[in-house]
Every structure is written in structure tokens, then in C-alpha cells.
């Protein structure tokens, strides 16, 4: 039943997707549709990238304890999306990544989008959102040591994550509306999304500062107590 359980398929995917499939998709897409249909191409690339991460995660041996905690944090992030205006989803992903590692951060980000979109609406934007939040978690995991040490860096990461995510989704908005990328439309989209970008950044920083101590204590204690 499983595609990626097979080790050989997995290794083929890990090299085949970035080296063969994505370039092939971009080149044939550009050749067949001209410049008009970036949306479909970029959607395909986003889905392939997610499949790549799925293959990589399957290879790593995440213990069952870590998996369950990722599931708990994902559920918390989903519930957090019901809070009006201020969303703690980035903060929770970053906390998960800092204490449980980059893969856990990626999973928490990507899956919380997938699950919460059951309530908020799935669509072609789902792969982009999954990739966006997944990458926020992933990079937080790679930077976990400096982020754990310095509060200033953590604030900077929250602001940066909010802006980067908003700009990524603006690219998607322009592609969806126009079919191809357009500089003026992108600027319009960025300007009209400014309040949301600010809201993202503010809620990221706010929740990160609020959660840093209590949440960090809890996760650190669990890590120490059960050796996750």
C-alpha cells in the first residue's frame, strides 16, 4: 500500500525529484504553454517538493514519542488558527523545531496547514502554504542553537518568517489572478497585504515571546524526562 516504504523508490525520489523531475517540469511547462501558465507549473513544483520532504522524513528514524509530540503540537497549531486575527501557528512550529529538530518543525508546519484546511478550505493554495510553514519550521530547526540562546534572534526570526511567508503567498496570489508573474500586480498585492504582513509578524513575535519560557520549559522537561 505504501509507495515510499520501499527503500529503492525512496532513494530514486530523493535524487530524481530535484535533479530530473522539477527541471523537466519547468522546461516542458515553459515550452508547451509559453509564459502564460506559471501557476500550474509552480503548483506541480510545490507538490514535488513536498513529496521530496515526505521521502526524506520517511528515511529518518523519528521515534514514536517524537512523532506523537509532533501530532500534539500540530493539533495545537490547528486549534490556534481558530483564534481571530492573531495566529500562533508559526510560533508553535518554531518552538517544536527548536526543541525537537528540523524534521519535526517541518512536519508540524506542513501538517498543521493540511489539517486546519479541512476546516478553513482546501485548495490549490494548500501545497504552497504547507511548503511555506514547513520551511519556517525547518529553518528554525537548523538554527535551533542560536535561537534558543538569544531572544533578539528569536524576535528577528519571527518578523522575518512573517514577511517571507506573506511575500511567498503574494507570489501565489499574482500567479492565480494573472497566470504569469507581473511586477506591478505583485507590488499591488504586497501593498494591499501589508496589514496582514504586519499582523503575521506581530503575532509571530508576540506568541514567540509569550511561549518561549513556559512552552520551552515544558518541552525541555519532556525531552529530559523521557529522552525524546
Amino acid at each position: 500500500m505504501t509507495v515510499i516504504e520501499n527503500r529503492r523508490v525512496r532513494s530514486v525520489m530523493r535524487f530524481g525529484i530535484p535533479l530530473v523531475l522539477i527541471p523537466a517540469l519547468v522546461v516542458t511547462g515553459a515550452a508547451v504553454f509559453g509564459e502564460k501558465r506559471y501557476l500550474l507549473i509552480s503548483l506541480g513544483v510545490a507538490m514535488l517538493a513536498l513529496a521530496l520532504f515526505a521521502a526524506g522524513i520517511e528515511k529518518k528514524n523519528i521515534g514514536s514519542r517524537r512523532m506523537v509530540i509532533v501530532a500534539v503540537m500540530t493539533a495545537m497549531a490547528v486549534i490556534g488558527r481558530f483564534i481571530p486575527l492573531f495566529k500562533p501557528i508559526t510560533a508553535l512550529c518554531v518552538m517544536t523545531a527548536m526543541y525537537l529538530g528540523a524534521e519535526a518543525g517541518f512536519l508540524c508546519g506542513a501538517l498543521s496547514v493540511l489539517v486546519s484546511n479541512i476546516y478553513f478550505g482546501q485548495g490549490p493554495w494548500t501545497p504552497f502554504q504547507m511548503l511555506g510553514f514547513g520551511l519556517i519550521g525547518l529553518f528554525a530547526g537548523y538554527l535551533s542553537l542560536p535561537l534558543l540562546k538569544s531572544r533578539v534572534l528569536l524576535i528577528g526570526y519571527g518578523v522575518l518568517a512573517g514577511i517571507a511567508y506573506s511575500m511567498l503567498m503574494d507570489v501565489w496570489t499574482v500567479l492565480w489572478y494573472n497566470g504569469s508573474f507581473d511586477g506591478t500586480l505583485y507590488l499591488t498585492a504586497i501593498v494591499s497585504a501589508l496589514p496582514y504582513t504586519a499582523l503575521y509578524a506581530v503575532s509571530n513575535v508576540g506568541f514567540l515571546l509569550l511561549m518561549r519560557k513556559p512552552m520551552g520549559d515544558k518541552l525541555g522537561r519532556i525531552k529530559l524526562k523521557y529522552g525524546v
Binding site: V3, R65, A71, A75, P124, W176
Partner: protein, 289 residues
């Protein structure tokens, strides 16, 4: 009676991928009109939601139509000048078509969201990777579990008199405390779940899974029909020649394109056709008894 949405989730997902894909792929006004009408029909029949979504869609249609002529000044037929910038008829019409694309896709996507309940989503993603599907199913379950638990903790705190809604700072402190208790409980509970899983031998052998859905021969037929009709639609779109800028030139009535429109129209009302057929058969069988 096997309604359209009771088909295999993979087939249903493919269906929505096809209709949404053709809609987003096309700048052909005929295809967009068919898609918009059919999606609204489907939505009214199979997704209850009152008037609100339709009002939202109408407003979105108007706003998105207006955006294009405001930022795009290509086109030969100038209607009037706004701030010394020409507003052209071509840009308005192109804006209407793209707005139609977006609104029609939104309707299809909403229908897809209604059709893809969490068990179906799990069936689709579970095939990708067993670990991912486990985390996915656990987090779907935890959402409801944690919401229920949150309510219980909050009620307990209220009963203890620790939670004052009158004072905003107290309320905030109270909800922070509830959240803290919830997280502690959830993580501990998760660890216990993990221990229990390991004690029962998780990860020692091949995993089997309970599945609600089978891939029947009727699903295979559906998949073939979807792909054939989509291909017909795409070929029809390819045959029609449409230029928006600098002047509108359309050649929509090639025989191939008309066949393509027909194919896409059948594809987009396929759920209605199948459900009607099943309903008629059900009636007939019942009256035969």
C-alpha cells in the same frame, strides 16, 4: 444507491483536479461560463450554505474585474481616462474572464473541501507514507480531543473561581493558565500514547491499515471518463484562437472547440448526471419491490 461522492476518494479528487485544472488553465470565455454555471449548480445542489457564499462570490467577481483595467493599460479601445491613465475595453473584458476563472475555481474548491472529509484525506495521504499518515490521523484526532479537554479545564477553572471574565487582564491570565495546563496534559498524554504503542509492538512489523474505501470497477470507469473528457476539453481549448491584446480577436466556433465545450460541459455536470441516474434507479428498484 452509490452517489457520486461515495466513489473512491482518489476518483473524486481526480475529478475536482480535472475541472479546476481546466478552469484555471483556460482564458476561453465559453469554458469559463460553462464552468461558472456548472459549479454554481453543483454547489446549490450538494453544498448547503445559504446565500452568503454567493454574495461573497458576486462581490469578488466585481472587484477582480475592476482590478485588471486599473493596473493594465494595454488595448486599443480606450473607454475613458482615469488620472491620465487609459481604461481600455480589452482590459475590462480580460479582467472579467480572469475574475470568472478565479470565482469558478473557488466554487469547485469549496465543493472539493466539502467532499474531502478527514477520513478521505487520510486515505489519499496514507498511501504516500505510513509515518506521515500516522501523524496526520493522530493530529486530526487530537484537534477534537484537545478542544474538548480545553473546555473541561476552563470550566474547572471557572468553578474554582480563578477565571474572571469581567476583567480583561484576569481573563487573559486565566486563558494563559488554561493553555498551560492543556499543553502539559497533552504532551504527557502523548508520551503515554507513544509508550502504549511501543509496548504493543509498533514499528516491529509491517503495518496494516483499516480502509473504508475500495477501488471498484465503476471507479476505474469514472477515472477513464474523467481523463477522456478532460483531454477533449483541453484539445477544444487549444483549437480556439483567442487574443485579448491589443484588440480582441476570437475564433471560438471551430468544430473541434465545440466538441471540447461539449466534453467539458458533460464533465462539469457529471455529479448531477450520476446522482440523478442513481436516484432514478433507486426509485425504480423500490417501486419494483
Amino acid at each position: 444507491m452509490r452517489r457520486f461522492h461515495d466513489s473512491n476518494p482518489a476518483a473524486v479528487a481526480l475529478y475536482y483536479l480535472c475541472v479546476t485544472g481546466v478552469t484555471m488553465f483556460s482564458v476561453n470565455p465559453v469554458i469559463i461560463s460553462i464552468s461558472l454555471l456548472a459549479s454554481v449548480l453543483n454547489y446549490c445542489l450538494y453544498a448547503e450554505g445559504g446565500v452568503k457564499p454567493h454574495v461573497f462570490s458576486a462581490v469578488l467577481l466585481i472587484v477582480l474585474t475592476a482590478v485588471n483595467p486599473l493596473v493594465n493599460h494595454n488595448g486599443m479601445t480606450v473607454l475613458f481616462y482615469l488620472n491620465d491613465r487609459p481604461i481600455t475595453a480589452e482590459a475590462c473584458i480580460y479582467g472579467l474572464v480572469t475574475a470568472g476563472t478565479v470565482v469558478a475555481s473557488l466554487y469547485w474548491i469549496r465543493l472539493f473541501t466539502k467532499a474531502m472529509t478527514s477520513d478521505r484525506l487520510l486515505y489519499l495521504f496514507g498511501r504516500l507514507s505510513p509515518k506521515l499518515s500516522l501523524i496526520l490521523s493522530m493530529s486530526i484526532r487530537y484537534v477534537e480531543l484537545l478542544r474538548g479537554r480545553w473546555r473541561r479545564i476552563r470550566d474547572t477553572q471557572r468553578a474554582l473561581g480563578l477565571y474572571d471574565d469581567g476583567n480583561p487582564i484576569d481573563a487573559l491570565k486565566g486563558s494563559a493558565r488554561v493553555l498551560s495546563i492543556l499543553i502539559t496534559w497533552a504532551i504527557e498524554n502523548g508520551i503515554i500514547t507513544a509508550e502504549s504503542m511501543e509496548a504493543r509492538g509498533y514499528g516491529t512489523g509491517r503495518r496494516m491499515s483499516f480502509r473504508m474505501f475500495r477501488f471498484r470497477s465503476s471507479d476505474a470507469i469514472l477515472v477513464i471518463v474523467f481523463i477522456a473528457l478532460t483531454a477533449l476539453g483541453v484539445i477544444g481549448i487549444g483549437a480556439a484562437k483567442i487574443v485579448y491584446y491589443p484588440a480582441i480577436g476570437m475564433d471560438l466556433t471551430e468544430p473541434v472547440s465545440i466538441a471540447g465545450y461539449g466534453g467539458f460541459a458533460v464533465l462539469s455536470i457529471l455529479p448531477v448526471i450520476i446522482n440523478t441516474k442513481e436516484a432514478v434507479r433507486w426509485r425504480y428498484l423500490r417501486s419494483a419491490v
